[in-house]
Symmetry: C2
Subunit: 143 residues, 2 copies
DNA sequence: CCTGAAATCCGAACGTT
DNA sequence: AACGTTCGGATTTCAGG
């Protein structure tokens, strides 16, 4: 993991469908050399995969919210992970320090759908209460 | 935007570096037909780009937090967007309904770095106060 | 890490339904 | 309007140095 690797990662983050020779031109390496590095970066888990950036609105999942979950005393991260993964509307989830125990990012078709997801989440045995914020506008998104 | 388009989007979301003929095999189309559809999906903005999924820990940006911002009465989303975009550590930002006015996702090298970002954010003229949650573990991430 | 060759893939043009 | 086929040129991939 040297400086060339970091530049390769940056190049592929900007356009994952660039050819190896194009990346090679940016980092002053031949295409085969770039491929070997990318293969190694994937094998070591630095690069976990390549994906398309899709406009969620185009798919009709246009209502987003962040939900803070408050849980019972002994709830493990593993339990939480297992539970939230069952809900396909959950696109991100974290355990956090602060008032809440977990923060969950939800993407749903509309408010009715969102409400339904919230009810499912609040039905989880370890959830004692929740507080939600509905996303009004997306200001930045460079995850 | 028909069912074939949706399947192409799904295929490229799972592996953005697949060849057009591989995608074609999945959706029963020839490679040029797939390319034409992908070109159209990009032109219409359904697909905004392709990116590598990078393990942030591998890059050393290992401290994450979500910060709720409370702002002065007349703060426009445009103002907020302009301001948060100036901070490279901000990877997501939204205006939200609920107690806070905005929710900002920050990725920093360590706690010291995070504190520094927080101070910069709280120095913005329209920010009256903030409340932060530090991410402990990442449960789900399929943005 | 580079060079080179074979297989594959891309992109554009053309013809078809 | 959208798909399939075809063809020249580029790219990937696997040798060997």
């Amino acid at each position: 993991m040297d400086d060339i690797d970091r530049r390769i990662v940056r190049a592929l983050s900007e356009d994952a469908r660039q050819s190896y020779s194009e990346v090679g031109a940016l980092v002053a390496l031949s295409a085969p050399a770039v491929k070997r590095r990318v293969d190694r970066l994937r094998a070591t888990g630095v690069i976990k995969g390549f994906t398309a950036i899709v406009d969620p609105a185009a798919l009709g999942w246009t209502t987003e919210s962040f939900v803070e979950l408050f849980c019972t005393g002994r709830t493990t991260p593993a339990q939480l992970a297992e539970a939230v993964r069952r809900h396909p509307e959950v696109v991100e989830a974290y355990t956090v320090s602060g008032e809440a125990d977990a923060l969950v990012h939800i993407r749903a078709a509309d408010i009715a759908h969102l409400e339904q997801v919230l009810e499912r989440l609040r039905g989880e045995p370890f959830v004692t209460s929740s507080r939600s914020m509905i996303v009004l506008t997306r200001l930045v998104d460079s995850v």
